[in-house]
Amino acid sequence: MNKFFLALVCVFLFSNHDMYLKMETYFLEANQMSSIQLFNGTFEKSENTIDRSRMLDASLLGNNNRYKIKEGQWSEKDSITFLSFNSGESATWVVGVSTKPRNIEMNAKSFNDYLEHDGVKDILAQRKKNNTLNNDAVEKYSKHVKAIFQVGENKTDDWSKSLGYPIEFIPLENPYLKYTGDTIQIKLLRNGKPLVNQLVYADFKSSKHGHTHNETNVDKHTDKTHNHTKNQKEEHSKTQGKVTHTHDGSTHTHEVEKKKDTSEKHSHTSAQELRTDKNGVVSVNLTNDGIWYLRTIHLENSTKKGLTHESNWATLTFEVKHSHNNNTSHTHTHEEGISSTVFWLSSIVLILILFIWFNRKSDKSEAA
């Protein structure tokens, strides 16, 4: 019965259930009510909410203090889980969520499709090499996601602290001292140790008024053309609904998924395919203004009873803006909007000047 149900689910459901902590903006004012969205699906669309009972940890870390997120701070809207919080004191903050492991059973085809579409190339290559492509899989998986955001101007070193998750991205430099066109080094830890030779994908969602630094992109696109093309191919294949496994029990129908994916297939970004070096570090070229996200799935064979594989999924998001100290001489006042105080004060001054002028004119005409 369970197998039948699983097969049914597999036929109708869509895959790609990366988890992300996302914000509209990663630059907040101090002591301001804010919200973070917990997406489970793709970076563009969340497919389902995450129940609090699934969370092993949900924390905010700032100014050297780690705060456990309370149950009442979570809410749901459609398929998105929201975290509402007060931004607190000025600092570079980290928010993290770590989920309990779950098992998923997949037939060989579903498993191979998932490896291909989620970019778990090493295990797929291993299956090809070992001639085990026809083997079904039982995978134990868990997800560990983080976001780093800046409150006020005070840059603290909380970004460098580990939340102690089974797998975790930790920048080696403060993302909020990095600007568009820079490169940032990010370490990947597995059980606290550097994870070597691991595939990591880095991508971005453009800011509303973001732009690309061409001089950096020339290099990037030259050697990443293949990745971009491949990514697009993957997106399109998803819209055809050929992927038949899930890493979380979404209840949407196949048709709905197709519609959703159609709207997101052209993200106009080009993911960087990276590999961690001997120190578990990847260098990400921050080519554009926008929200940057890194994702990786560490999948390994398992000898545990009832399992064939075990995976730990990690993502990290942060926002990058361009520097006003370099040769980007243009101004971007429209991003922040007109300061209300400046607007009203200058309005009053202008009205007063006009009033005095018209009043004098009127007095003069009366005297004449």
């Binding site: 804010s34 809207k77 509402s84 919080f85 209300s340 607007f343 309005s347 018209f358 004119k361």
Partner: protein, 223 residues
């Protein structure tokens, strides 16, 4: 002396919104909407009307033209009907447009009202369009701007219509709150000798701001 008193009133009323104005608080607005029920939509709607200076400038322009309470009720009702239609309709149907372009048209409405109040049409010897009709048309545009704003929030699909209507109700509450000091200052000043200078100054200001806001929005759109 009376003139100084009136200037003081203007400054105080003008300064009031500076403490509550913050166009860049969508994060906190989103957080309020996430945690609150329908009341949070009323609050955010009212807040948007009170902090959206383009709406306030247009309303001030309309009030300047009017004589008597009956006139105010008539024109504001027409403006309200106009913006309710597009705010509710566009939000419900998911119709949206580029915020800069919508705001650019709203800026033109501010320019239009100042120009008309200064007898601009008479001066260029063109018959002014029917004001009631124009206020209704601009009401539709302002409502579309409000709908675009509402749709920039993640409001989910549960109680969808109720949320839109609550936001709309909030906009009306905000409009009434904004109208009280605007009507007070204008009607108080009408009794003073300096009213003509104030009228000209305020409407010239509307023309200038209409032009500046229009340029500002186009700059935001193209750059």
């Amino acid at each position: 002396m009376k003139q100084h008193k009136l200037i003081t009133i203007l400054i105080i009323l003008g300064l009031l919104p500076t403490s509550i104005l913050a166009h860049e608080v969508s994060q906190s607005d989103q957080a309020i909407l996430n945690q609150g029920g329908l009341f949070s939509y009323i609050y955010v709607g009212a807040k948007h009307m009170l902090t959206g200076y383009d709406h306030l400038l247009f309303i001030a322009g309309v009030v300047f033209f009017l004589k008597g309470f009956k006139d105010i009720v008539k024109f504001i009702t027409v403006f309200t009907i106009g913006h309710c239609i597009t705010l509710t309709g566009a939000s419900y149907l998911g119709i949206t447009a580029n915020e800069h372009l919508v705001d650019a048209v709203i800026a033109l409405s501010v320019l239009y009202k100042g120009f008309e109040n200064l007898d601009g049409f008479k001066k260029i010897k063109i018959k002014a369009p029917n004001l009631l009709l124009m206020v209704f048309a601009f009401g539709l545009i302002h409502g579309f701007g409000l709908a675009t704003r509402l749709q920039s929030f993640d409001i989910g699909s549960e109680q969808f219509l109720a949320k839109i209507l609550s936001f709309n109700l909030g906009v009306e509450v905000g409009q009434i709150i904004a109208l009280i000091p605007i009507v007070f200052v204008i009607t108080q000043w009408q009794k003073a000798k300096s009213y003509e200078a104030f009228y000209k100054a305020a409407n010239t200001y509307l023309v200038i701001m209409g032009v500046l806001l229009f340029i500002y929005q186009l700059y935001g759109y193209f750059i």
